[in-house]
């Protein structure tokens, strides 16, 4: 580790590693800090990603993928189901490999990766940060300087707070998530399942994402306003019993917290750029974060390299590069999904039954190649007048 770099990236998840890669490719000297022994652990993710979205920004080799998703099944509170057939819907990734390989790619591009290293104590004033303390497990610490910093430190995002960004997650938005890796089961390896209903997962959903024909990530999220987070295990055990009978084995356990989108002011403070979960760049309805992490990482990495190369770049120009260019593409969608989430929390089980029956009718046996969410929402309101009260959130 040197004493000065052009760019320091804190956190080697997908957002951080992609940002570090982009900055290094653009010619910047980059230090990438990762708290854990290696990137990719511990897993705090259900690992599913939309194929068409991620494909625009990353090519995904076969060995990063556990299963290819071609069908999406929604199961209603009354047990009825709707299936969307979409041959290139996406993948269930192997995040241990995905994260590790993205970090390796950054290193191949010339970035320096330091594991078991916490970045903290961002120093500077008036939005002009110049150094950070890098802490090691033995308690030692060293000050490292940079022209620009990228906070990719995930949902916990201490760095953004150090820069004065108020990214507190309010009680009403807290969702407790628990996931098991379940083995010894029979699942259709090309089909992801979403089980919805206020009895099984209040304000949330249960997911079954196949890792193979005999294993899956099965998890759920529930609103912490409604009950204690530790109730997730009671609910998940009950679901597994009903879905797979007695014949399953839980081999791993993961938990987490998915942030919701909080707007443009969480993405930058002076020469600190914030990406991925740290910036709350998340689809607030489903909790999906990988595509937004990768995209925000790309734009932040490029912006950081440009900032380091052009001495005296104006604040407005940096903002135009990041988050400007990222939000130009994703801002409207992030806001819309935040509204969908507000609507989702207002749905009772009858509404959810209606939605699933609509999905069944609307898609039927058709095979689709893309989903126009706006059109689907407009049709939902037109075909299910009971849901008209949600029009202002959905349209």
């Amino acid at each position: 580790m040197r004493s000065k770099y052009d760019v320091i990236v804190i956190g080697a998840g997908p957002a951080g590693s992609v940002a570090a890669h982009e900055a290094a490719v653009a010619g910047a000297s980059v230090l990438l800090l990762e708290k854990h022994k290696r990137p990719g652990i511990p897993l705090c993710c259900a690992e599913a990603v939309s194929g068409p979205s991620i494909g625009k920004y990353l090519s995904i080799p076969q060995n990063w993928i556990s299963t290819r998703v071609g069908r999406v099944k929604l199961v209603a509170p009354d047990g009825s189901a709707g299936v969307i057939k979409h041959p290139d819907a996406g993948y269930v990734l192997d995040r241990k490999i995905f994260d590790y390989e993205l970090a390796r790619r950054a290193v191949s591009a010339g970035c320096e990766l330091e594991c078991e290293a916490i970045g903290t104590g961002l120093a500077g004033e008036d939005g002009k940060y110049h150094s950070i303390d890098v802490l090691k497990p033995d308690g030692s610490g060293v000050k490292v300087e940079a022209d620009i910093f990228i906070a990719a430190d995930g949902v916990e995002s201490k760095i953004a707070r150090e820069a004065g960004i108020d990214n507190l997650i309010e009680s009403k938005d807290i969702e407790s998530l628990l996931q098991y890796r379940v083995e010894g089961i029979n699942v259709e390896p090309d089909m992801v399942e979403f089980h919805i209903g206020n009895k099984i997962a209040p304000h949330g959903y249960i997911w079954v994402f196949p890792k193979s024909a005999t294993s899956a990530n099965v998890g759920l999220g529930i609103a912490a306003t409604l009950e204690k987070g530790s109730n997730t295990s009671v609910r998940l055990d009950r679901f597994l019993e009903g879905r797979f009978g007695g014949s399953y084995k839980i081999t791993e356990k993961y938990c987490g917290m998915v942030p919701r989108y909080q707007g443009v002011d969480k993405f930058r403070a002076g020469n600190l750029l914030v990406v991925g979960d740290a910036a709350r760049a998340v689809d607030s309805l489903s909790g999906a974060g990988i595509v937004n992490a990768v995209m925000s990482g790309i734009f932040a990495g490029r912006a950081a390299a440009a900032f380091a190369a052009e001495k005296g770049m104006k604040e407005e120009e940096l903002h135009r590069l990041y988050p400007g260019k990222f939000l130009e593409i994703k801002g409207e969608e992030l806001e819309r999904y935040a509204r969908y989430r507000t609507a989702y929390n207002k749905l009772n089980d009858e509404d959810l039954n209606e939605i699933v029956s609509f999905v069944g009718d609307y898609f039927g046996d058709k095979t689709v190649t893309s989903l126009n969410i706006l059109k689907i929402m407009a049709n939902l309101i037109a075909k299910r007048p009971k849901l008209i009260r949600l029009a202002r959130y959905l349209l």
Binding site: H36, P42, V155, E156, K158, S171, S230, Y254, P259
Partner: protein
Amino acid sequence: MLEIERALCLECGGCVPLCPVDALFLSFDHVVVDFNLCIMCGICVNFCPVGAIEESDAVKV
């Protein structure tokens, strides 16, 4: 005071951004509580999906 049951904690860090007084920190492999800041609001206790955070009456030693 708050107690983190390290055997249960899966290091997700989900509790950290919920803390209204910034008293939680995810160190290398465990969550650290700054008892000088903690106001015992119970938000993290209620959130933790694996029940690894508890409020106890025990006096800090």
